[in-house]
């Protein structure tokens, strides 16, 4: 469990299974990701990508399987556990509270306190600084998320995941689904910066071009199973597509 430079994997999963009633969404899926790399995950709709990510982020408890963070075995029974272990996530549904403002959404579950009370001033100031640093344009952080466009919401959800400085791993589920060309490039930059700052990134995306541009390795999922991750330099779009469609065995 170490990469070419001898670094240890920061997050691993072995044999993760998840059943919803009679549906087997995950069948003994494996994954490992190293600090300073982007692992792309691709696969058809229903392949189990989001389910795997929800297992990693503590939303689902796997029916079976073993998970480690920085070498130590972990069991997440809630998203709070995963966050404490340094895993930060952008869920496919974005997990934003529409009626609340941007600043509050950026700090959900982790509001800064001053004495007994939430430090509202600091929250607004830091939220504004964060969005400025990431070049995200919104009128102000008091804007309710309900009045943002789909693309803006996606950027806010991504900003929130990036905000968590203690995060060692950032999980992104379809982070560019609602974005235009320019915005997609912007998210690509954010992902590159995360890698350069030594974080491990797991990137689920349908956008093959985006994945090839930003991932170091690509792992295909099909029918709840995972293939061995392939280095981007050692594979091709054709091979990945063959794996996705099942033309080539995982």
């Amino acid at each position: 469990m170490s990469d070419a430079q001898g670094r240890a994997a920061v997050l691993t999963v072995e044999g993760a299974s998840k059943h919803f009633g009679s549906v087997a969404a995950l069948r003994a899926a494996d994954l490992e990701v190293f600090p300073g790399e982007v692992l792309g995950i691709v696969g058809d709709n229903g392949a189990g990508k989001s389910t795997l990510l929800k297992v990693l982020s503590g939303i689902h408890t796997p029916t079976d399987g073993r998970m480690t963070v920085a070498g130590a075995e972990v069991h997440f029974s809630s998203p709070a556990d995963a966050r404490r272990a340094g895993i930060s996530t952008v869920q496919q549904d974005l997990a934003l509270v529409e009626v609340l403002d941007i600043a509050t959404n950026l700090y959900l579950g982790d509001f800064p306190k001053r004495g007994l009370l939430v430090d509202r001033k600091r929250m607004e100031r830091e939220a504004t600084e964060l969005l400025r640093r990431l070049n995200v344009r919104v009128s102000s952080v008091l804007t309710p998320v309900a009045s943002l466009s789909g693309g803006q919401r996606q950027i806010i959800a991504i900003s929130r995941a990036v905000r968590l400085e203690s995060a060692r791993v950032v999980l992104l589920d379809e982070p560019t689904a609602a974005l235009g060309v320019q915005e997609t490039a912007h998210v690509g930059e954010i992902i590159d910066n995360l890698r350069d700052s030594g974080k491990a990134v797991v990137l689920i995306s349908h956008d093959m071009e985006f994945v090839f541009e930003h991932a170091d390795r690509i792992q295909v999922m099909r029918l709840g199973k995972t293939a061995r991750a392939l280095r981007v330099s050692e594979t091709s779009r054709d091979e990945i597509i063959a794996l996705i469609t099942g033309a080539k065995q995982l």
Binding site: A80, V99, T104, G109, S140, L142, A146, Q152
Partner: protein, 338 residues
């Protein structure tokens, strides 16, 4: 939804300005309510000047504060997307429990705390039924409402509990600076609940859970823990309202509380702009809702309008308030889709 005329990226967010804050305030239901109460008050005063006398205004406040106290906890519950029919029964239980204890040798402050604890436990049981047995809040708390109402009558044999200790009676009857202490208590409780809802992590979590439960949970907020506190505090404060009412009236009344308190508290919360759809609401709104409720009842009585009309008006206002909330929701949704 994907193509937006204003680019998402470019400059950053601009700083929050005073203008932003003023705009936020003007959009609020509280502002509308103050206007409605003022207009109504002026009309009644023109019809009968007695309405605006200090003694009538104090009466009006005194009549409304116990409902307001009971509605404070309910406000938080509704903001969290829940509901609590059992507040009226928790009110009765608190009153009967505390007065029974203090007439059986327990010092009255301890007895009062005991009554509050009973309400707390009732709320905890509500939350366990809601979260573990997955029974919807409306059903759970309606069941609890009936259960306690029956139990209280069984326990007391339908008889009120009196006389109560002098110290306890004084606690509910005095005045401070010419204003009944009961009103001061309600103001203090209202301020505490306002701070809890608007300025503590718990309050932020309550809004998040009510606004989008899945999102709140995905961000590490515990639904079970939030609900346990919510319903427990809701039950406790309703019980305290019942205890305050006993102190004011000098007896633990079996018929106090019940559906009157439940319905008045619910009306105050909803008229006050707290959304049944969750995530939105305020204690100030609830206070104004309770005040509007009391103003209409008191004002129409003073203007010699039969009580049936005031019920009709309150019914209409309740529906209008929720319709306005629903319209606001739809409008923001439409804006989003266009």
């Amino acid at each position: 939804m994907t193509t937006d005329s204003t680019p998402v990226i470019e400059d950053g967010a601009r700083n929050v300005t005073l203008g932003d804050r003023v705009q936020e305030i003007l959009k609020r239901q509280e502002v509308t309510l103050v206007g409605v109460i003022l207009v109504f008050g002026i009309i009644i005063t023109v019809l009968n000047p007695v309405f605006a006398t200090p003694s009538n205004i104090l009466d009006l406040f005194r009549a409304t504060v116990v409902y307001f106290v009971a509605a404070c906890g309910l406000t938080l519950v509704v903001v969290a997307g829940g509901f609590d029919f059992s507040v009226g029964s928790a009110f009765t239980l608190g009153a009967i429990g505390a007065t029974w204890l203090m007439t059986h040798g327990v010092p009255w402050p301890v007895a009062a705390l005991g009554g509050v604890a009973l309400g707390f436990v009732v709320g905890l049981i509500n939350s366990v039924i809601i979260d573990r047995l997955r029974v919807p809040p409306i059903i759970t708390t309606l069941g609890m409402f009936y259960f306690i109402a029956g139990a209280v009558v069984l326990f007391t044999g339908g008889r009120d509990i009196q006389p109560l200790p002098d110290g306890f009676n004084a606690f509910g009857k005095g005045t401070l600076l010419g204003i009944p202490v009961l009103i001061w208590y309600a103001v203090a409780i209202g301020i505490i609940f306002h701070i809890v809802l608007q300025h503590t992590r718990f309050g932020y979590n309550v809004k998040a859970v009510g606004g989008n439960l899945d999102a709140a949970v995905a961000n590490g907020i515990s639904r079970v823990r939030t609900n346990a506190w919510l319903y427990a505090v809701g039950g406790a404060i309703a019980a305290l309202a019942g205890i305050l009412y006993s102190a004011r009236t000098g007896s633990g009344q079996v018929s106090a509380g019940g559906s009157t308190v439940t319905l008045t508290a619910i009306s105050a919360v909803l008229i006050g702009g707290t959304s049944l759809f969750g995530g939105v609401g305020s204690i100030a709104g609830t206070a104004l809702g309770a005040l509007l409720f009391a103003t209409i009842q008191n004002g129409l009585a003073i203007a010699s309008v039969p009580a049936q009309y005031s019920n009709m008006i309150i019914g209409a206002i309740l529906v209008i308030a929720v319709a306005v909330d629903s319209y606001r929701r739809r409008r923001s949704l439409l804006k989003l889709l266009s």
